[in-house]
Symmetry: C2
Subunit: 339 residues, 2 copies
DNA sequence: TAACCTTACTTTACCGACAACCTGAGACTT
DNA sequence: AAGTCTCAGGTTGTCGGTAAAGTAAGGTTA
């Protein structure tokens, strides 16, 4: 049996197609009896409207698109789940595109597969792409860069201040040699956190050692390996604290330190960023700067929906972190080389 | 400026719309010079075909839909990332729907928003829904149940054998009191693993203690809490081994044991399932049954694409696990209560 | 009772792309 | 010279909905 269309329902119910359309869409111009009858026939035939026809006519897909290069890690699933829920509240669906292919991205955006766009992370959307999207009035929210114009906004996390505050906290505890575990340099958050960290070191006159900036790629396992390598080289004179670019890195770092027999926080303190769900259950529980992911997700979807509805122009919103002190940080041990 | 359509390109290039269509879709009936000219005009106007029009006419969206209630945890992101990549290879996109609303799910499936469907987990897709989908010839692959008919297949993990083998391994080490940390009972994998575990206990004549089946919900934090509660009750006579329904549960369990001063594997052994990326970096590194997630993702997408292309009817494929012995399991300590 | 509303639909145009079929010009056949 | 091909592209119908405009029957008003 081929797919049932609105025409089949109309024929079966003995009415015109627009009557069926009106009945299904609750347009209040029909005789209640007719409406009932049509709905009953539609139900009996298991009729479900074809969304492609609907979309073409209305110009709306009722879908928001989330474009990202990766979904790895707790940050993403929290973000995606919360955004999905929030979309559903507004009657939208969320289409998650995990890809690095700019062709794919642009043809889905400009081809109107979605009514609004959420963009995260190092997607290499450049000035020209933004120009084109702006001309087409594509409603967009960026999560990884501050931006705003008539049809585009952003909801970002103030990573610079977060990095600064975390570093300042460690300095306040008495740490003088603090390493930073970085993500990749194309990641806005990673760079900002590092800048904040460097600013704090400068402010307190602590040495900026190039070697103390470690590439961890924001992942647990790659950080684990990076720290093991780092310990092999710097084992004789380890920093008394590591500031990790995110919680996953912090955990990987702690695992590596433990594997080499160091105690956290007894010998070394480790601080992360994000406060992902697991952070509090880790051993030791992580000291971290809380990134209000759920809030970011909700603000993003709300802002985008309001732009689509024409109720709002693009805004640049910034969320601030909150230092959560748990068990992975402590004053440095007496024997620590504080030079 | 309103959106550029194929008509605008046709007018600007001084040709008909079908000539534009033919030029863009590489239909080889045009004078090369005309084709070049049309493509140049399209490029200049930044023309991108509207996918809704395309989809309506062709009846194809070039999208596969992944329907799930959750994306939490390493299992999902590995699955999603691998499926996305594999879709891209076939020229498809992957639309991830995170929802529990069956209305939403069915209207997206039956409304033809996607060309093929991948379903995971306790979605409560019942016989009736399957009937309707079958009548509509919706190409579908299930990841959480074995199923096959003309248009529907499945790619599942043999969780029963995995559970059986893991339990047998612990029994072989000498463990006599083994607890199982379960997910929820609506989850096929969780139930199957538990059945395998119970079968092994029965086979070796070990006692089946109802109390030793713990609800951990397949999450790290809820397992952590569940095990803490369990220890409070059974602390005087703890099992010598825990078989956790997945790696996240195993980690939560280990964290809880450590928090109460137990050593793993010195005092208690813990075994998980999946072998997620982090498992090997955990301390202690997890003994686990490897679930070939990437393989499942690839087989799923390939199978679905072949069904869509009409090259294949629904098959029920099963993947088997592989026991990976690492540091979280050991022979039971002498003092363990082996009664 | 003619003009005018309502009510309750039906007819038809349209969204943007694609594709089946049509056409007009020149080349080739017989 | 009439008929037939081929080439290169144009015309038009179509996918499945929605919505603006049209209409027929009955009721209301002046």
């Amino acid at each position: 049996m081929a797919k049932i269309t609105i025409r089949d329902v109309a024929r079966e119910a003995g009415v015109s197609i627009s009557t069926v359309s009106n009945a299904l869409n609750d347009v209040d111009v029909l005789n209640p009896a007719t409406k009932m009858h049509v709905l009953a026939v539609a139900e009996r035939l298991n009729y479900v409207p074809n969304l492609n026809g609907k979309m073409l006519k209305s110009g709306k897909t009722m879908m928001l698109g989330f474009f990202t290069t990766s979904v790895s890690g707790p940050y993403f699933y929290k973000l995606i789940e919360t955004m999905s829920r929030q979309c559903e509240r507004h009657g939208y669906g969320l289409n998650v595109f995990v890809t690095k292919d700019k062709q794919v991205i642009m043809s889905n955006i400009l081809g109107r597969r979605v009514d609004g766009v959420i963009i995260y992370e190092e997607l290499k959307i450049d000035e020209h792409d933004i120009d084109v999207m702006e001309k087409d009035k594509i409603k967009t929210v960026f999560l990884d860069r501050e931006f705003s114009n008539d049809t585009m906004g952003s909801v970002t996390f103030d990573s610079y201040t977060a990095g600064y505050e975390a570093a300042k906290y460690l300095i306040g505890l008495g740490h003088k040699r603090i390493a930073y575990i970085s993500g990749v340099d194309t990641m806005f958050d990673s760079v900002q956190r590092r800048e904040g960290y460097l600013a704090a070191l400068r402010e307190y006159g602590l040495p900026l050692d190039e070697d103390y900036i470690i590439q961890g790629y924001f992942e647990e396992d790659s950080t684990f390996n990076a720290i093991k390598a780092f310990i092999r080289v710097h084992g004789h004179k380890l920093p008394s604290a590591f500031l990790a670019g995110n919680d996953l890195s912090a955990m990987g770092c702690i695992e590596a330190l433990k594997a080499h027999g160091y105690e956290v926080p007894g010998d070394v303190s480790v601080v992360g960023f994000d406060d992902v769900d697991i952070a509090r259950y880790f051993s030791p529980p992580l000291t971290t700067v809380r990134n209000p992911i759920a809030r970011q997700a909700i603000l993003t979807v709300d802002h985008l929906v309001r732009m689509i509805q024409g109720k709002e122009t693009g805004q640049s919103q910034t969320l601030t972190g909150e230092l959560i002190v748990r068990g992975s940080s402590h004053v440095p041990p007496d024997h620590a080389d504080q030079g």
